[in-house]
């Protein structure tokens, strides 16, 4: 697998001295679906902000497609390769209507108008917000804003998209829309990096990375992480089904193991 993002021995401290990241090593291949989880303040946002050069390492090195983020001349290419949806979407709007905001990225890429129109339509459709196109992003509800922010990045069709807690303000149906969209772009070959506090969203991921106090403390497939680590220690709650299956296994019921989904658990309980 070709490497997309290469993080070596990354150290980052904010200007006020807070050490947010401490010797982080992380290699992410093209087309991977990586979930990052960890307690509040563990450094998730700081880490992903390094991936498109919004933060630059205090020590160590971050490179994207072999381009080091420390060199300023690489920034345009890095940002073209990596799209980012921020936590708390309220201030990331640039357009005055939803449609214009979604078009902003593709416009910057210098694409022809017809192609932009097409990309805008597709991403609005994917997020199910086509009917909001003429609204001002500022007069939308919290969840609608979050969907607009996602559509704006989808429209740029970057090779890799970072989602920083994007489903935190969505209802279960909209969350499913977003997860489906994520699955779809991942199936088309996009690298996905997905920060979340809800591990039930990670079941389809290739890798689950757990952070704690600025360090990576676990990095394996979700099932292995659930099996090998005591995630409560890192302030993380297991998905209800996983927790239930683990309780049953620990109570001595055979043949259950760690079930990731409801159907898996049902299968184990009533074969």
């Amino acid at each position: 697998m070709t490497l997309m993002i290469e993080i070596q021995d990354l150290l980052y401290s904010y200007p006020d001295g807070t050490i947010a990241l401490d010797s982080v090593d992380l290699h992410i291949g093209k087309g991977e679906f990586v979930v990052i989880a960890g307690r509040n303040g563990s450094g998730k946002s700081s880490l992903v902000r390094h991936m498109n050069a919004l933060l630059l390492p205090s020590g160590g090195c971050v490179s994207v497609n072999r381009l080091c983020t420390l060199q300023k001349k690489n920034h345009p290419d890095i940002r073209k390769a990596i799209g980012m949806v921020f936590q708390g979407p309220d201030s990331q709007f640039i357009g005055m209507t939803v449609e214009e905001d979604v078009a902003f990225g593709p416009e910057n890429l210098g694409l022809p108008p017809l192609r932009i129109r097409e990309l805008v339509e597709i991403s609005l459709e994917m997020m199910g917000i086509s009917e909001l196109r003429f609204h001002s992003p500022r007069s939308l509800s919290g969840g609608q804003k979050q969907k607009v922010a996602i559509a704006g990045v989808l429209a740029m069709e970057p090779g890799c998209i970072v989602f920083d807690e994007v489903t935190s303000m969505l209802d279960p149906f909209s969350r499913k829309d977003v997860l489906d969209a994520v699955k779809r772009i991942h199936a088309k070959g996009t690298t996905v990096i997905y920060v979340t506090h809800r591990l039930e969203e990670t079941i389809n991921a290739d890798r689950l990375v757990i952070m704690d106090s600025g360090k990576v403390v676990a990095d394996a497939s979700p099932r292995d992480v659930f099996l090998q680590h005591d995630l409560e220690m890192y302030g993380i709650e297991l998905p209800p089904v996983v927790a239930l299956s683990r309780m049953l296994t620990r109570a001595g019921f055979p043949g259950i193991g760690i079930a990731l989904t409801k159907d898996e658990l049902l299968e184990a309980l009533c074969p």
Binding site: G41, S45, S139, S141, G143, R175, L244, A251
Partner: protein, 275 residues
């Protein structure tokens, strides 16, 4: 003593092409010490409703009263504390202390008493005193939300209205906040929480209201909720499906411990029969 909403209708931008009726003929009432959840799809009008509780928005028609006073009356502001959906909007102080102290100071608290109240609000949410001198803008997303919540708690309102307080919080902070809120209800504070995580919060709630496109479509207890609601906790779904497959389990369960004991019970009896 209660918040009463009678036939509330609200329109944004009335009389323009951008007119949007976000609440339609809503009536409900919330008593002292109740723990209320408000849910519904995105854009269903929850935040708009919240802004009526302390009179920030005035009904296009209908009335909102708090303890018998109109909601936009000045005295109401001290009784109803509101946390908005995006915490960054609520924060403004130079330091965390200043930010949290803003509310109680406005309501007349000074000196030691003020300090005590600020510290106890921060402590309730699991912060050290050290954080007080930090800038609230240099915190992680979840920490910002907690500080914003502390800012509302510190004024000790009688009605505490929180718009999506749990989003962005990790499991530990969620538990801390939830038990802090439950503790407040035992002291007579009414807690009103808007959330998309109703399934996870059912065990704490007294009553639940659901909005859909500006209409109130459900109002009832957690047990009613599990019977009727459109989206159910994963655990409840699991129990329902087990029941469908012929297991004799209760299907009105939403707590993981109950599910565990229920499943162990049937597995044990099944095992016994098998032998």
């Amino acid at each position: 003593m209660s918040i009463d909403i009678r036939n509330l209708t609200f329109r944004y931008n009335p009389g323009t092409p951008l007119e949007n009726t976000s609440l339609k003929d809503i009536s409900l009432s919330i008593g002292k010490g109740e723990f209320i959840l408000i849910g519904g799809e995105i854009g269903s009008g929850k935040s708009t409703l919240v802004r009526h509780f302390n009179g920030l928005l005035k009904p296009s028609s209908g009335q909102v009263t708090v303890d018998g006073m109109a909601a936009h009356a000045k005295k109401v502001k001290a009784r109803v504390g509101v946390l908005f959906q995006f915490p960054q909007q609520q924060l403004f102080g130079r330091t965390v202390f200043e930010d949290v102290a803003f509310g109680p100071r406005n309501f007349g608290l000074r000196g030691n008493e003020l300090e005590e109240q600020v510290y106890s609000a921060l402590e309730l949410l699991g912060f050290d005193k050290e954080i007080c001198s930090n800038s609230p803008f240099h915190l992680s997303g979840g920490q910002m939300r907690l500080v914003a919540i502390a800012g509302v708690l510190a004024s000790m309102p009688e009605y505490l209205v929180l718009d999506e307080p749990f989003s962005g919080l990790d499991a530990e902070n969620r538990t801390t906040l939830l038990s802090a809120l439950k503790h407040l209800t035992t002291k007579g504070t009414s807690v009103i929480v808007v959330s998309h995580r109703i399934p996870d919060l059912l065990s704490a709630a007294d009553r639940i209201f659901l909005l859909d496109h500006g209409n109130l479509v459900f109002g009832g207890t957690p047990v009613d909720y599990v019977k009727h609601a459109p989206y159910l906790p994963e655990i409840t779904c699991l129990m329902k499906e087990m029941r469908r497959k012929g297991f004799d389990v209760r299907d009105d369960i939403f707590h993981i411990d109950d599910a565990f004991s229920e499943i162990s019970r049937v597995l044990n009896t099944k095992g016994a029969v098998g032998k």
